[in-house]
């Protein structure tokens, strides 16, 4: 049986560095949010009442005092002055000091009943949930782990139970099972039978995704027994899901218990054999004895509110677990108090990264590389600083970065994961998601549209409003991200996505024009125009990325930002797409900011390369210079991390240590712990990115300052000017 395992609590089984779900802590660590605390407090209160309520109640729930605890009202037409002897009917008393929740029509104390009822209600709920959870673990984990025919059979059973409506089945069961009402255990068992299937399905799906995770396979490869794998390796990872489904089941079990008690099927203290006091029973008595018509809300409202409060407590706690399981649900990662202090709205505004400083004109970058043939700048980033989070908890992801992208050129931005390269690029165009906050800097876009009627002149993107940004976006600055599958809307066709785009930016196009323009664009990237009718999932990875690039050039933008556009692709496809891109650049003339961890790729592709490390730009140079004559020890090390395809095979060392944690950066130069030439000064003082005398390049390294002796490896002569390899090849092929 292959039933969609999609469920609200399911975790996307993503591996890789993105799988944050398990990073935070080990088994279950509830976020300390007001919701969770409120939930715990509510549940704690009910727990206390459940334990001591029966004894703490002022009276016995069964105690009656016909004389004092009801109001006696004379029936009309009886008593003195009539032919009939005085006849009284009782009316319950409203809340008073003696009876905080008033009394019932049977002259009983309502508060005592509510307090006494808590125990049974909670007990049945928890017991039923416990039984259901055990059942669902047995079913779900067995089905998910064993798989095959067992899975098909068990899933079928669960799905059948899921499809049969719970309460009617419960009613039928409770009605037929003799004296079910008097046995609280039997009631719990019956409720469990009708509520386990949902959790079982969720757990099965989760186990299924865990089963194929590498750590389970690793345990199997190491010869671990099946039972131990389930108990020790798989089950602990299911704890959050089990906890969530336990709370969910408790909530439904209490609801079910109250419902069947309301129908008189769960036993009452007055039936024989007598059952226990519970909230549903109170509601039933009230309803059956006209408490609604009489307006005696104090009789039936408290138990109902108690159910709702208890349920709210459970649900609030469940929020916490949901946020643990699915970190995306956490409030954007921005602590509200700290954000307010910093003057940032925590309200989510997708595509409008908050800027937390009064815009100042950043000083002209100290280094103005001005060779005669340098093209005019199109995107200037000055002194950009970006944090994740605000206040004390802020992590400085990008610090004081200056970068200039020139018209028609390819600027490569290289760095390892966590170096801040993607953060830098996305925040420059205000697309960084929360908790990202821009804390300083200026991003100047010198617009001179290639086509269309986009804005002209210089725009500070960090000062721009939503409307101004919208005019620039895509028509002048387009973005391509790593995974095209994730970047394309999965439920509409490629053609419809072009259509949405063109309709907004080229309003004068007719529908037919939009469609034919989209077809043209696809053909420009080597795809058949028929593909417009395809959905993203029907295309291969390479095709999707081509479609994405076709979309990026649709409005002939001045800048395209490419964030690891080919990392997810195979080498052959990668190369083809890069060729395509360079060809388009030559035709249209856009400038490209190309972000990648693969320095060897950039060397073939870029005009200029900037290297980032731990949130800072460390070296910037023309591609050939950077490759043949690196000045920064880190760049030098990085270049020696790519084994060559030619020549003798020699042992290479890479770079010792690992990239630093941004929360705990080394003093001085962040690279010094891994640097083989580190000096005392490197540990104490941070070098600034400054030009090296007499060359068109910059480096942030003490070795090139003052009278330090520059190691031979970092003092190679600049190479003779040489064209870009890939661009050259594309051009030649075009000439042929």
């Amino acid at each position: 049986m292959t039933i969609a395992p999609a469920s609200l609590t399911e975790v996307a089984p993503t591996g890789g560095p993105g799988a944050v779900a398990f990073h935070r802590t080990r088994i279950l660590h509830l976020p300390r949010s007001p919701k969770v605390i409120a939930g715990l407090v509510i549940l704690g209160l009910f727990g206390v009442v459940a334990v001591i309520g029966r004894w703490a109640a002022p009276y016995s729930p069964n105690a009656t005092d016909e004389k004092n605890w009801v109001r006696h009202v004379l029936v009309d037409g009886t008593g003195p002055g009539t032919a009939f002897p005085a006849n009284y009917y009782p009316l319950p008393l409203p809340p008073s000091a003696a009876h905080w929740l008033g009394t019932t029509v049977f002259a009983q104390d309502a508060l005592s009943q509510v307090l006494a009822s808590t125990q049974a209600t909670l007990f049945v709920g928890l017991l039923a949930a416990a039984i259901a959870t055990v059942l669902s673990i047995l079913f779900g984990v067995t089905a998910g782990y064993v798989g095959g025919g067992t899975d098909e059979g068990l899933s079928l059973v669960a799905n059948v139970f899921l499809a049969i409506p719970g309460l009617p089945l419960l009613i039928v069961l409770a009605d037929y099972v003799p004296s079910a009402g008097s046995s609280i255990l039997l009631v719990a068992a019956i409720i469990a039978v009708t509520t386990w299937a949902y959790s079982a399905r969720t757990l099965r799906a989760q186990t299924l995704s865990l089963r194929n995770r590498d750590f389970v396979e690793a345990a199997r490869v190491s010869g671990e027994s099946r039972l131990r794998i389930i108990l020790v390796e798989v089950l602990p990872n299911l704890v959050p899901i089990v906890a969530a489904s336990f709370l969910f089941t408790t909530l439904s079990a209490i609801g079910a218990y109250v419902a069947i008690a309301f129908l008189g099927l769960a036993g009452s203290p007055t039936s024989s054999p007598p059952g226990l006091w519970n909230w549903g029973e109170m509601l039933r008595e009230g309803f059956a004895n006209n408490a609604v018509r009489g307006g005696w809300w104090w009789w039936w409202a408290p138990p109902g509110i108690a159910v709702a409060m208890l349920g709210t407590g459970l649900a609030l706690l469940n929020f916490g677990i949901d946020e643990f399981i699915n970190p995306r649900l956490r409030a954007g990662g921005l602590s509200r108090k700290a954000a307010r202090k910093a003057g940032i709205s925590t309200s989510t505004r997708l595509g409008l990264t908050p800027v937390a400083h009064s815009i100042r004109n950043a000083p002209e970058p100290a280094s103005k590389v001005d060779s005669a043939n340098a093209a005019e700048p199109v995107l200037e980033i000055r002194g950009l600083c970006v944090d994740y989070g605000v206040g004390d908890e802020a992590v400085h992801a990008v610090m004081d970065c200056d970068l200039v992208l020139r018209r028609g050129q390819v600027l490569g931005l290289a760095g390892e994961s966590g170096s801040g390269k993607t953060t830098l690029a996305l925040s420059a165009i205000r697309l960084l998601r929360p908790p990202g906050v821009i804390t300083a800097g200026q991003v100047l876009f010198h617009s001179r549209p290639i086509s269309g009627d986009g804005p002209t002149g210089t725009i500070d993107l960090l000062a721009a409003g939503q409307q101004q940004l919208r005019e620039v976006r895509w028509s002048e600055i387009a973005v391509v991200l790593q995974s095209a599958l994730d970047s394309l809307n999965p439920v509409i066709t490629i053609g419809a996505q072009f259509d949405d785009l063109l309709r907004v930016h080229r309003p004068h196009f007719s529908e037919a024009e939009r469609w034919s323009r989209a077809g043209e664009l696809l053909e420009m990237v080597g795809m058949n125009a028929d593909r417009l009718r395809s959905y993203p999932h029907e295309l291969s990875g390479g095709m999707r990325q081509r479609a994405m690039i076709a979309m990026a050039i649709a409005l002939e933008p001045q800048v395209i930002i490419l964030d690891e556009p080919t990392t997810a692709l195979d080498v052959v496809t990668q190369r083809e797409i890069l060729e395509e891109l360079i060809g388009l650049r030559d035709r249209i003339g856009f400038a490209t900011l190309f972000i990648t961890h693969d320095l060897s790729l950039l060397v073939e592709l870029a005009d200029e390369i900037a290297v980032m490390y731990a949130g800072r730009l460390m070296e910037r140079a023309p591609a050939a210079s950077l490759f043949h004559a690196p000045r920064l020890p880190y760049t030098h090390g990085l270049l020696h991390c790519f084994p060559p395809l030619h020549g003798a095979r020699v042992s290479m060392e890479g770079i010792p240590g690992s990239p630093p944690d941004l929360r705990d950066l080394p003093s001085g130069c962040a690279f010094h712990p891994r640097c083989r030439w580190a000096m005392q000064q490197c540990r104490e003082e941070r070098p600034r990115l400054l030009p090296i005398d007499g060359s068109s390049r910059e480096v942030a390294c003490w070795l090139h300052r003052g009278d330090a002796v520059v190691p031979a490896e970092l003092a190679r002569p600049e190479p003779a000017a040489k064209g870009l390899v890939l661009a050259e090849a594309v051009k030649q092929a075009g000439d042929l």
Partner: protein
């Protein structure tokens, strides 16, 4: 020759510790999502033979979907082959996945973030295999620390108490390798062990594997999509394409004198700043769907030298040189050509042949 090709094993003096012979595997995959999903058959691996020798690293190179990981998993006996057999020390490996097999063949997975159980400390991950296999019944902590030292994680005692989320990617992968080494295996199957790591720490892990090969005479399978790293680490490289083996040779011989058109394509696509002349690939297409793979040689739709016979028959492995084989009709010896020369060896019309390529093949 109906689909499967007999392998001519190149003359190799050393006996294989682990050998997968004619391994074939297909999977049922869900084709869609939602309540009405259906399944289709994916032909993941087709009759591939791989030999691992003691003290040698054999690299399995190919693009995603080439079947590399499936082969590693079949050798680890996590996945059962549809056909073919796994030989341990020349004898058929025992059925199922007994502990005696686990004690000799171990695996390192691609994603160090997924291959360590997030809820257990490093100690647990290392101690379990030690206990299962009674490697160090006395002082398991001592033995676990020793393992961490072998993979250069110091101070070892400090790392024992860490949870996986407290470690960096490189450190995790070292723990994963230490776990595999715990049972003192003779074979290590490493499935893309560095592809998820940061560039600057990849070499460290590769050097560790090389070190284990040299010091402990491990037979290592290095699965990778990066042919340059295969050349760096491996003694022998086996190239796969769409589930079929296309070429196998000592690593330098393979990268310097690639005989199969696919290997040549792969090499020309790899980033290489130092190459003399940048080739242009434009429009060489993409790997085929494995639901309905092309007939004959699965590379023929993308091959500039495709001939009639390539569409009809799966090419067997031809010896290009004594220890270099290529599964390509271009390398068919004169005997095969004579027997089959009935027009099949003529190039398919719509492909032009780059004479330079052919020259490099004939070399």
């Amino acid at each position: 020759m109906n689909g499967t090709a007999p392998m001519e094993t190149p003359a190799t003096p050393a006996p294989a510790v682990l050998e997968g012979r004619e391994l074939t595997k297909s999977f049922w995959m869900r084709q869609a999502r939602g309540p009405l999903a259906r399944k289709a058959r994916v032909h993941a691996v087709e009759a591939v033979t791989v030999r691992l020798e003691a003290g040698k690293v054999t690299a399995l190179v190919g693009e995603s979907g080439a079947g590399k990981t499936t082969i590693a998993r079949m050798l680890a006996k996590i996945v059962k082959p549809d056909a073919g057999e796994v030989l341990l020390d020349g004898a058929p490996a025992p059925k199922g996945r007994p502990r005696s097999y686990a004690a000799k063949v171990q695996m390192v997975f691609q994603d160090p973030f997924a291959s360590l159980n997030p809820v257990h400390r490093v100690r647990h991950q290392l101690v379990r295999p030690l206990k299962i296999h009674h490697v160090a019944d006395g002082d398991v902590d001592q033995a676990a620390e020793e393992l961490l030292r072998r993979v250069a994680l110091e101070p070892a005692a400090h790392f024992l108490n860490k949870f996986p989320y407290e470690l960096s990617g490189g450190q995790r992968q070292r723990v994963a390798i230490a776990r595999a080494l715990a049972v003192r295996p003779r074979v290590l199957l490493a499935d893309e062990p560095v592809s998820m790591l940061d560039v600057s720490i990849r070499l460290g892990v590769l050097n560790l594997l090389a070190d284990l090969r040299d010091r402990e005479q491990l037979a290592i399978l290095y699965v990778t999509h990066d042919i340059a790293s295969a050349r760096y680490l491996a003694d022998t490289i086996v190239v796969m394409y769409a589930g079929q083996l296309v070429e196998a040779a000592p690593s330098e011989s393979l990268t310097d004198h690639a005989a199969h058109p696919y290997t040549q394509l792969l090499l020309s696509a790899a980033p290489d700043p130092e190459r003399e002349e940048t080739p242009r690939l434009a429009g060489r297409g993409a790997p085929p769907s494995l639901l309905a793979p092309p007939s004959g040689c699965r590379f023929h739709p993308r091959c500039p030298h495709a001939m009639d016979i390539c569409q009809r028959q799966v090419p067997p492995s031809f010896a290009v040189s004594p220890d270099h084989i290529a599964a390509c009709w271009l390398h068919a010896g004169s005997a095969e050509r004579g027997a089959g020369d009935n027009g099949l060896f003529r190039p398919v019309a719509n492909h032009s042949i780059n004479p330079k390529h052919l020259e490099s093949i004939k070399r």
